[in-house]
Symmetry: C2
Subunit: 712 residues, 2 copies
């Protein structure tokens, strides 16, 4: 219990500032919600004139409430907030829920008001939920400030930046009848308290088994990742991040004014931190429910147990698309199944019982148990009409099904393997399925949703394994000479030049091709033989010329002094013509590199998530197909390995079309070193190794760019 | 009414062969279904001993039924079928539903039994539904052979190769309460009647507004495409094709034994024929419902009208992912919205009313009407809590919402633009939403499903436009010389050699690079200057050497007679070493081609769908990224154009990274010519133009392969 939010998200006393007798007002609804649900704490309506509201003594001001209040719900307009928070501070209010909009999301005047509000709160020691929030509830404490009907207490905690999304989830839960909630908070503008703080609270709160977040924008993404990783070790963290497309980002930022980073990057760094990211809004609750009920999976091998071929096929398709695999069953498993099922049953996974269970649904429990015992199976997926035998085949079977459900529930208790059920009878909520749900076995009415749950359980397991075995790379101490080089460049208000960037890489033990920095034509006269007897490349060195090829600043395959002199003159002429006032610091000679697979390693500092590593294949893969892996820095070795294996074009790295594969280990080591450099030199804003040519044995850094944070 | 299936899928008399008093038997359930639902036709139970079943006179044999029967439901085991069909033929039965399994899907013995069954049926003039089918229903005719409870008559016709899938759809419809069905048939093994026949029937049946098919495998895909195109002109055709992954294909073929082609190809050729392909099983009914209720959309520009930012953002994300666009509203529309909404409303699409409607939900109808009148808007998507204002805000608003629903329904009647509603209150079925549904406005409880409907409506519109404007390419008469060349190669039991294939292309007016076929070293002595004064490529010509480069059979950049002689000798030596007994027909000289964008045009004859054209970018795009467009031949000009624009890497064709775009029109013309060649020469089994190098002005056919159907 370290989060300060416990003090007011599970409050023992609540003031309603702007209490009302108008049933359409929040100041009315909240009172109804608290009184109707039987909130056991004290409630203080604040109203300028009335002395009593709904049987409760009312006060003209929060200041007049005779004792300190844990939580104040403030229903008054934006402009009243600084004053009210001042009074709230005097009362000793710990947390204030500010419903009003008209702050930062509404332009400069609103932003100023938001700053004033925050200052007033800080001065009075009041923490702010919102502003521009839909409020909060804590159902186990019977705090229902939204006065929602028919939400029941349960284990799903929610933070949603959209009040309508909370409402949608609540209605979905009400409709399906088997999901309950613990705490909900709407972070609104996150003026004071942000997603990271709320997540930390949900991680600590005992009633919450799964933390579920609808996020339009993070404010401090780096802190969020830290808290997410810590929380994900204890319980599942489910995030739906809106703004996955340019259209959505536009819509999202008009809604809350929060900065939305690249969606692909956000997903990658959230997953790195152990978050289960869901891609569709109708998957949020199903995934949260499954993760809240089941233990993580040890792997991606799923056994499908079906009583109908159609759904078995669909399940196989979806599993495969979700990156799961059909488990290769052990021989003993097939033998045991053969002993109980009809001869026409299909014993290769997916198992189709082919009528064996029509008159005996308990066989499904038997088969599920056999599958759970298979060492090649990580998860069991029961697919078909279980729960409906009594409806479809014969009334008498309902009793057998109930027993089967109890047996399946027992298997779930005894096995450490997740068991998920899809039933086409789920919408009818027949008793056997209610028995399963009551025992913590999730039952879905959509194969697609069930498969998302299986995939999420696998991801949880992978995170746990990665996290437990993570080899953290020791930070390296900054190299003093390189610090001086960077300082000098910043003093000159420029970025590092290519030879400087490569020297910096070399200083940290990265293998960089030989290079020779030629400051003037005269330097060519003194070149040693190593630069004359093999073909070399010559590139202009200039802080002002970013697109060297466009400027005619690159010449390839030069051999011998004459060729070099001619090239030098040509480059100088072209570059002058391209940009007359360019500051040219000579040219760089490097050996020609052999053909290989072009990859890109890059680092940028994201305004939300801080330093982020990027890896992808060069050219069209990054630019057109956007096939890129991102990770937040610092990286573990596992993080770096997973980047290289994540990209869709990884087959090319592994040696497609008869070519040899590249040295992945060398790329992983390089990624980790680049990450260390970024940590050792916070003045480096961006790094771009592009192209980097990867070979079966190592790589060649063909070009390196490093952008600095400029001084002032 | 041309389909012969009307005679027995809407039967006036039904025999139940294998009628039973055992409630778990289909021969019992079917009688209960018919009698319970009040089927108005005659029912004849067939039972070896009983004289009466459920108050109906029973007959010992179908032969003894005193009048011809339209439909026989046969519930007896597989081995009885040939005999029963013989008797059925004598009665004059028009159609027989065979439930038994144990036919072709069960190995060679079963396959023989299936053939015998079909022969008996043909001899007696009986058409077969199945075998291995779950049966059929025709709810408007009260024929409910599955004895399903609680399915209601409606406009969705279904053909499902999985009985469980039908059951799942029926339960989903029962649960949501607003979808009804017309006819269902399970095609089973499609021994006699296949998907194409059933689709034709549904296309003709007046009660069916949308034909919905769950397909594991087609038997005659080409015929299906023909019927699908014809049907899609009249009403929507929705197909879910299972086996979208290797895992699913394995599962599917163990289920029905039907051949499953490449999923990507199947999807492309179905869409070409106007089919709406849905990718997830839980989208089948929502999409069918929406297509059944709404007219097609004229385009992909959607106006989103939301009363909450969260769902507006999610809707924008999903629209964009589905290939739809947020419409750029006309100024006049924004003005009109401004006049009715609060100042803080967001008037850029998505429109967020920002509280304007909280106390006045009828404003949503006003806004929807304004949006429908915008010429830049093709579809309107109402997103949020409509239907729940009376629940969430104030009871009194329910009346306003009902009026608003009526107004929205009126807009739907008057406008030719589809209007789709997502409401988070949909699961509660509040009255205003029931009013909408009753008026034919579809209401969804999932943004994701609603967006699939919008996308499907756009696809319908695009199909209609493409179909109406289709420029069909005139078939070309076969070139007699080429026919002789093909005949000679087939006589020699070989495929066409590269120079032959290129000559064939040239014979049909395709621009092929100059080529010179050198049969022996002596031919090099007589080469004219055009082959000596520019760099050329030399490639071995051999029916036996498929991988020319691997065999050392390709030499590039040769100039001058000496170089050619040396290369010739080298190629011969290498190829002999590679394969001593290879039949080598000399070498082919071609000019070296300039760099460009490598593409592939290919044709294959799919066992299910017949000749299929393939287009993609060369190398990794086809091999690793599988970024390929397929179309069934014959092609319209629009089909060919859509292929070139479909691939994900089309940006490369359009000139990525500063490069010039390629000549798409030339590629389209080439695709059409290749298609004509395939039609003119049915002996050509496969064509592979790979690589084909595309330029800003034209292309170069670098290599061409043509595989022939061998004789015998």
């Amino acid at each position: 219990m370290n989060s300060p939010l416990h003090q007011f998200l599970a409050p023992d006393s609540i003031a309603i500032i702007g209490a009302s007798l108008d049933p359409t007002k929040r100041g009315y609804k909240a009172l109804v919600g608290l009184l109707g649900d039987g909130y056991a704490g004290k409630v203080y309506p604040i109203h300028p004139k009335l002395e009593e509201i709904m049987g409760l003594k009312a006060y003209p001001s929060i200041e007049q409430v005779p004792e300190p209040v844990d939580l104040a719900l403030i229903c008054t307009p934006a402009k009243t907030l600084p004053g009210i928070l001042k009074l709230s501070g005097r009362n000793g209010v710990k947390g204030a829920v500010i419903l009003a909009s008209g702050f930062g999301e509404a332009g400069e005047t609103g932003a100023r008001l938001e700053r004033e509000t925050l200052e007033a709160a800080r001065r009075g020691g009041v923490r702010i939920i919102g502003p521009n929030t839909s409020g909060l509830f804590n159902l186990h404490k019977k705090v229902n400030l939204l006065a929602l009907d028919a939400v029941k207490p349960g284990n799903v905690g929610i933070v949603s930046q959209s009040g309508n999304m909370l409402l949608a989830l609540a209605l979905e839960a009400q409709h399906n009848g088997h999901i309950g909630f613990s705490t909900y908070v709407g972070p609104g503008n996150q003026t004071d308290i942000g997603f990271a703080d709320y997540l930390r609270y949900l991680g600590e709160e005992a009633n919450t088994q799964v933390a579920t977040l609808y996020v339009e924008g993070f404010k401090n993404g780096r802190e969020f990742l830290r808290v997410a990783r810590e929380t994900a070790r204890k319980k599942p963290v489910v995030v739906y991040k809106s703004g996955s497309t340019a259209a959505g980002q536009k819509a999202a930022s008009s809604h809350t004014g929060a900065l939305a980073g690249s969606y692909a990057m956000t997903v990658d760094v959230l997953r790195q931190a152990g978050v289960n990211v869901v891609g569709k809004s109708d998957e949020i609750l199903p995934v949260a429910e499954g993760l809240g009920l089941l233990q993580q999976a040890a792997g991606r091998r799923v056994a499908v147990l079906a009583d109908g071929g159609g759904q078995a096929t669909i399940a196989s398709d979806r599993l495969s698309e979700a990156g799961l695999r059909l488990a290769e069953l052990e021989d003993v498993t097939r033998e045991r199944l053969r002993a109980v099922l009809f001869p026409q049953a299909s014993l290769a996974n997916p198992i189709d019982v082919a009528g064996s269970t029509d008159a005996n649904p308990r066989l499904l429990a038997t088969c599920a148990e056999i599958l759970c015992q298979d060492r090649n199976v990580d998860q069991v997926f029961l697919v078909g009409m279980f729960g409906g035998y009594g409806i479809r085949f014969a009334q008498e079977l309902a009793g057998d099904e109930r027993v089967a459900a109890q047996e399946i529930a027992a298997i779930k208790q005894q096995s450490d393997k997740p068991l998920v059920v899809y039933s086409l009878y789920a919408p009818l909520k027949p008793e056997p399925l209610e028995v399963l749900r009551g025992s913590g076995v999730p039952v879905y009415d959509s194969i697609e949703h069930a498969v998302e749950v299986l995939a999420a359980l696998s991801e949880r397991g992978e995170f746990a394994q990665r996290d437990a075995s993570a080899v953290h790379v020791e930070p390296v101490p900054p190299n003093a000479a390189m610090q001086r080089m960077i300082a000098a460049a910043r003093q000159a208000d420029r970025d590092l030049l290519e030879p400087e960037a490569k020297n910096l890489l070399a200083a940290y033990g990265i293998d960089v091709p030989a290079q020779c920095w030629i400051a003037s034509a005269a330097d060519l006269d003194t070149l040693d033989a190593s630069w004359l007897d093999r073909p070399v490349a010559m590139k202009v060195v200039s802080e002002d010329i970013l697109h060297k090829s466009d400027a005619g600043g690159v010449k390839l395959n030069l051999q011998g002094r004459d060729a070099l002199r001619a090239a030098y003159a040509g480059i100088m002429a072209s570059c002058r013509a391209y940009q007359a006032d360019a500051d040219i610091a000579g040219v760089l000679l490097t050996p020609m590199v052999a053909k290989g697979v072009e990859v890109i390693i890059g680092v940028s500092r994201d305004p939300i998530f801080g330093p982020v590593m990027m890896f992808g294949l060069g050219g069209i893969f990054v630019e057109i197909l956007e096939d890129i892996a991102f990770r937040s820095i610092p990286l573990s070795r596992q993080d770096a390995e997973s980047m290289v294996n994540q990209i869709k074009a990884r087959k090319i790295l592994e040696g497609a079309r008869g070519a040899a594969g590249v040295d992945k280990a060398a790329l992983v080591a390089l990624i980790l070193k680049v990450a260390s450099i970024v940590e050792a030199h916070p003045e480096i804003a961006e790094i771009d190794l592009n192209p980097l040519v990867a070979y079966p044995d190592g790589y060649a850094v063909v070009d390196a760019r490093m952008i600095l944070d400029r001084i002032g």
